[in-house]
């Protein structure tokens, strides 16, 4: 048990360190790692949206998926599974991305922004916690997306193969516009992401899980990982002179609600965006579908201008968040109210 805890703490530390390194070598501020932002940039590189500067096929995502695949293979944990409400997972992935792109960050980046002194992230953290609490309530009432089943091996390798192909295309500059996006050197990003992916696979690191497990079981193992990540980034930013306190209440309600949506979707899906990538790397087809839902969510957010800019939360984004919260809550409510009538 002691060893498991140390592994989660180590993962939080390494993610924080890798994030600091990637920013120092060119990634945007407080964006050493952001699963939502990077999937959005890959979506742009594939020209599913055309937002200028957001069209670089980020190797971090490919590295995380493949790092997880490698470690799962080494430990004989790799297993092709799927069949647990894939369409609902697609919808939840879509709204998880929509929420993240209104706040401008996945749960990882929320903590990176907090550690960089960005006060707006406090509202996001409160909302995230609220969303997780609501999701945990649904879980306690019997919410489930149902069982997954063993699939053919080829089903589980689709996403890892896509990751390899896109990584090659990205390196060869065949897709996207890397020059317009701030980014660290390709192999530095890929290498650090492979390490992060491998560690997160072993430790089951999850930003949603940290708060969820405390609410459900009073267990702090995963939370210690998130806390370590925050402290690493905070101390690192102070040492590097990158800690700049800023605080405004403008848009605070929307940062609260957008991350509440992310937290709620994350609990119903069984994990944060990072965890979805890790599970997809292990052969989980349901998580691969979730990632595809996130890709479509990113495309829609930019094509229909619901994604925020650093200065402005757009009206379309506000509507999307409210609609998303209603739809996802309804999904939760309908499933728990039918729970006693349907066999899992």
């Amino acid at each position: 048990m002691f060893k498991e805890k140390n592994l989660v703490i180590l993962t939080g530390f390494v993610i924080g360190l890798a994030a600091l390194i990637l920013v120092a070598f060119g990634n945007p501020t407080n964006m050493g790692f952001c699963i939502a932002c990077f999937i959005r940039d890959i979506t742009g590189a594939l020209e599913l949206h055309t937002a200028n500067g957001l069209q670089y096929a980020r190797p971090e995502i490919f590295g995380i998926i493949l790092g997880s695949s490698l470690l799962a293979l080494l430990n004989k944990e790799w297993r092709a599974t799927s069949g647990s409400a894939p369409v609902l997972r697609f919808v939840l992935g879509f709204f998880m991305m929509a929420g993240a792109l209104v706040f401008l960050g996945c749960p990882l980046r929320m903590v990176l922004r907090l550690g960089g002194g960005d006060g707006k992230a406090i509202f996001a953290l409160l909302g995230f916690t609220g969303g997780i609490a609501l999701g945990s309530f649904f879980l306690n009432k019997g919410f489930t997306l149902g069982r997954s089943y063993k699939q053919k091996t080829v089903d589980g390798i689709v996403l890892p193969i896509i990751a390899i192909v896109l990584a090659v295309f990205s390196f060869a500059d065949l897709i996207g516009d890397a020059s317009a996006a701030k980014h660290a050197p390709f192999f530095l990003s890929l290498g650090l992401a492979l390490i992060v992916g491998g560690l997160a696979q072993r430790s089951r690191f999850c930003m949603v899980g940290g708060i969820r497990d405390y609410i459900l079981f009073r267990e702090n193992r995963l939370f210690l990982g998130s806390l370590t990540l925050f402290l690493t980034v905070l101390i690192g930013n102070i040492i590097l002179g990158n800690f700049h306190v800023s605080f405004t209440t403008d848009g605070s309600i929307w940062f609260f609600l957008s991350m509440a949506l992310v937290g709620l979707c994350g609990v119903l899906l069984g994990g944060c965006p990072l965890r979805q990538l890790i599970l997809a790397g292990e052969g989980n087809g349901d998580s691969a579908i979730t990632v595809f839902g996130m890709v479509v969510g990113a495309a829609v957010s930019h094509n229909f201008s619901t994604a925020s800019t650093p200065a402005l939360v757009k009206t379309g984004g506000k509507i999307e968040i409210v609609v998303g919260l209603i739809i996802v809550s309804l999904i939760g409510y309908v499933i728990i109210s039918k729970q006693n009538k349907e066999v899992i």
């Binding site: 498991e4 944990e77 069949g83 647990s84 879980l139 997306l145 997954s148 079981f217 069984g270 349901d286």
Partner: protein, 68 residues
């Protein structure tokens, strides 16, 4: 008493186990098929002062035998 947690993502195997242990039964068998579920259910059961014995079933499936 048995809990079938095969194919369920965390934390559902632990929630089902938690519910099964509510009345402190002498023994519960939990059927699981992922390493994460094995780890999480085992950790929870030990925290609830149960002994855990892992028995390989078939094709990546395990029975976790929880007893007081």
């Amino acid at each position: 008493m048995n809990v079938d947690a095969r194919g369920l993502v965390c934390p559902q195997p632990v929630i089902l186990t938690k519910k099964a242990l509510t009345d402190r039964p002498a023994a519960v068998d939990v059927l699981v098929d992922s390493v994460a579920a094995i780890e999480n259910v085992t950790r929870y059961a030990i925290a609830m002062k149960y002994n855990v014995e892992k028995v390989a079933s078939s094709d990546g499936e395990y029975i976790l035998k929880l007893s007081k």
